[in-house]
Symmetry: none
Subunit: 214 residues, 4 copies
DNA sequence: GATGAATGAGTTTTCATTCAT
DNA sequence: GATGAATGAAAACTCATTCAT
């Protein structure tokens, strides 16, 4: 959004901002949010102490920027699946499920970051605001797809069914992320996808089957 | 399980241990895990500084004991639902779902505690070990119930179906907890339960319907 | 006194110098000398960081210039009273007293600035040098007036009396400034002036009375 | 005031508190308030960093305690003069003047401390509260003495005269302190006392003369 | 002459742990 | 077993100064 000043200084400043954010996320992933001190961050970024205050007003501001960045990354990665999906509603739902559980999206890095920030979310409203990845955008997208599907299947109360299917799918995906967090070694993406598709197939048998898992 | 010496001293020591654990959990709920310092804990417990090291070997030990306590509390609360449920498999499944989403189990307190600890889980193995509430016990319980149901319904591969249903149900419940964490104000227990039962009804129409939500 | 180069650049440079000095004094008055950082000063002046070093060689140099400016302001304001006073010695003394305690001279701003700098005076010789407003000029002026008065009154040792009266009057005025610093709400200029004139009337009854307070 | 707990630990703690306060005042005198960092204070006291927070809640709290201590010291020193003075009102006034300007009271140390704190007084209310040494106690003491003197001398409006004499004497003393601050090398206690007594002699010729200066 | 991003030494504060009582 | 004063490493933050543009 911000107009880019093309001067060298401004460009370098922007690179430094990004480097600090990436160093912060790296540190959270590798040593945890509690150990992620300013000293650790600047050591990783190879930049100076004062820069954090200069660009973010302090450690808190840097953390807020880091959550925002992590959210953008999630959406950017997921979008690559949606773009390939085309228009049929079941294709869009499948793209969300397969994308959300793909190794480019549901990674050790992503899970570490989200659970670290959510641990702080209750006390820090700004963090909370950005720690809901599966937010309105995803909600709306899934709801429209499910409503179209429910109508096609001729179900009663298609809007209610669609709302519940949306909510349930997102909850299932969330639950799979937690599963990955707690059992990183035994977690199996194929199984996770199959389970979500089993849920979808059970609700909308004309549109989904276990073969949807990619 | 050391045999209890019934002297007054031992009893008082045990009361102090409990008070420190409760103070720790209270503090995590109210001000977050990052702000929960030794000073904060002893202020809340009204006990002396040295006691934490005396009884738990340090702050880390106290935290581990606190996670254990939180896990016990979860199971104790959930068990009250299971005890009332009786033997039919669908009753046991319904007890888990309705219990897990009941206000005595899924509370602000419980959610705050679990997400706080999970944020640390990646780096602290002892914490991780205890931060999986929906662990083997629950897994086994649900699996047996679902296998019985799947067999009764005459489904193909009842074991696989049961494993997926178990996994899916637990993931759905996890997802609902996250939903409560991030949207504490708009979260609706009735809706959450209905969605889980819609999933169950879709998979096992002879055993579940939307009326299962209590 | 460098000859002014009349180019626009030089003029602007001079305006910038002044703006920095005023911003410094404003900041000292409003938030105290300890909080008056380079960042605060440039924010108030709306000028760039580097300018302080460009024009004053650093923060210290700016502070020295600011003390000088404050001293000039004190004298300029007091001079307006002396210019109106005319030649009679008692009129000149009265002008100093009434001027020094007038609201244009003894202001919240002036008092804040002087006490702030004096707190630093012990350690910073350059500051000390300029933080004596009631310096040689005022001393000489009062001494001459009092000597003339003492001679007219036919007192013994008129020079000694005059020296003591000068010293005493200046000390009284200083004391009144401190009183204003510490009790800004209850300070009463009329009372302060009356007390000084009571001192003068007691020493030189033929030349002063309580009516001298303006 | 505080009840002394006689345990060794408590006694040592109290000694440490005092040592930190003395180190703070020493540092302010020697290198100025701006240079008086926590590191400087603990180096001088030979105590640990954390102790400042332990006993005073932080640097600010320590400074407030230091102002209080400085005020007590002023009064304790002045009281030695008042105790020797006896009851006659002119003796009490003389004791205040001679005491306030005595080298045990008006010292380099005292002046450095008071002006350092007053520089901060405008912004820090707690400091302001304690930085008025010549406060109500001294005011009342002088007022009663002057009223008695004014009545004995048969002056008109003795209360008003006494109030002005009190205010004027205190202002003169304040002014002398400032004089000592700014001209530590040329300041002459004998001259300062003589000037105050000249003021007193001029107002109450039956009670004071230039010989009052000790 | 003017700018403001960058620096890093130095500041205050925090806090788990220790240990004499 | 219990206490709480003491410690000091490490934390976050401040800020005058520098210098490439």
């Amino acid at each position: 959004m911000a107009l880019k000043n093309n001067s060298k200084r401004k460009k370098q400043a922007d690179l430094n901002r990004r480097a600090l954010i990436e160093a912060t996320l790296d540190s959270i992933v590798e040593i945890g949010i509690a150990q992620t001190s300013v000293s650790e961050i600047i050591k990783r970024a190879g930049l100076s102490r004062g820069m954090i205050h200069l660009h973010f007003g302090g450690k808190d501001g840097l953390f807020v920027s880091a959550v925002k960045r992590a959210g953008e990354t999630y959406y950017n990665n997921l979008n690559r699946f949606l773009e390939k999906a085309g228009t049929p509603p079941q294709a869009r739902v499948a793209a969300v499920v397969n994308g959300d559980l793909d190794e480019t999206v549901l990674s050790n890095r992503a899970v570490s970051i989200w659970y670290a920030f959510r641990g702080e979310a209750r006390e820090r409203k700004t963090i909370a605001e950005y720690s809901d990845t599966r937010d309105e955008r995803l909600n709306t997208l899934l709801f429209r797809a499910f409503r179209e599907i429910a109508e096609t299947e001729g179900l009663d109360e298609p809007a209610t069914v669609a709302r519940d299917a949306t909510h349930g799918t997102l909850a299932l995906l969330e639950g799979m992320w937690t599963d990955f967090l707690i059992h990183p070694d035994s977690f199996d993406r194929a199984v996770a996808k199959r389970i979500v598709f089993r849920f979808l197939a059970a609700m909308f048998s004309a549109h989904f089957d276990l073969m949807g898992a990619k």
